[in-house]
């Protein structure tokens, strides 16, 4: 029930953000662009919020940091967490298993590069992204003081990126979250990024 409500809440937030931010300009001319060519250095600050989930797990992901809008890459500090306790069973010793309630957290530096190949006259851009989370992961367990499954881990991901205005972008793709011990590592990643664009007045 909690999982269902969490999913419902994040979906509502994303839809709300999308409806409020999207400029509703769909009559622009699409232009094919070279995804490997940048324009000029445009450093900026941005925040992002998202989720990665599959049929066995659901995590929120929030971050802030550096956005480069000319060459389309970003480096952000992110925190990800499961917002509810999940019952898991693991082997403690021979013939003894623990059934505990688990939350997982990860703090990471996220590096992302985007390759836009379609651009519209209204600043909207569509392309692909590749990203990597360099993170520290751990699990907390009800009744156990010590955190467990602590590990430094790489989390790669890739998918579609749509910059739908000069200040916002949404990514939808795949994330390989292998360090999560009690769920499938194959996850869907949905992320909304909002950033300051100095060109927005032009």
């Amino acid at each position: 029930m909690i999982l269902y409500n969490s999913r419902k809440a994040i979906l509502s937030i994303f839809i709300l953000c999308f409806l409020l931010i999207n400029p509703f300009k769909s009559n622009s001319q699409p232009i094919l662009t070279n995804p490997f060519v940048g324009s000029y250095f445009q450093p900026s600050f941005g925040i992002n919020m998202g989720t990665f989930f599959n049929h066995e797990d659901f995590l929120f992901d929030f971050g802030l940091g550096f956005e480069e809008l000319g060459y389309d890459y970003s480096v952000t500090f992110n925190g990800s967490f499961r917002p509810y306790y999940k019952k898991v069973i693991f082997k403690e010793t021979d013939n003894l298993y623990y059934q505990v309630q688990e939350k997982v957290l990860q703090f990471s530096i996220d590096a992302e590069k985007r390759f836009y190949f379609i651009q519209f006259m209204n600043s909207s851009k569509i392309g692909l992204y590749a990203m990597m989370k360099f993170g520290y992961f751990y699990g907390t367990y009800k009744g156990l003081k010590e955190n467990r499954n602590n590990t430094f881990a790489l989390t790669p991901g890739a998918g579609l990126s749509w910059q739908f205005s000069k200040v916002s972008r949404v990514n939808l793709g795949y994330l390989y979250f292998n360090q999560n011990p009690f769920a499938s590592p194959h996850m869907i990643n949905l992320k909304l990024s909002i950033f300051i664009n100095k060109d927005q007045q032009q």
Binding site: I21, Y97, G143, K145
Partner: protein, 141 residues
Amino acid sequence: MKKQLKYSILALGFIAMTASCNKSKDDICDPDQICYTSKPDELYIKLELSTNPSSEPIEISLYEDYLDDGELYDSFFTTESTVYYLVPVGKRYTATAKYKKDGDNILVLDSDRLTSISYENCEETCYDWDEELVLDLKLVE
């Protein structure tokens, strides 16, 4: 574009407000409100259990603080599906239930802090608490 920025800030503000909403009992004055002025010394822990797959009584252990860093408070066997236990307030408790299944022992854990909260009502300190602290020691199917 200023409009977009404004909407972005509005959207973020909405999320922040939704996330931070919390009912507070501070700064109220309602003379008709029931006010318990004595802090409770002891409250009940409710232990919810499954049937042991081996049909044997389940071994329950109750710890003050955590399993790996606490003290054993009490240990007993039961065949009941619900057990109530009266314990002092203001501490964390961890309960374990040991089930036997296919020759293996499965130790189910749950833990929480048993507390009462205080608030001011018409310059009087009142105490409030949950009826019981529920610890879920049910075995996952």
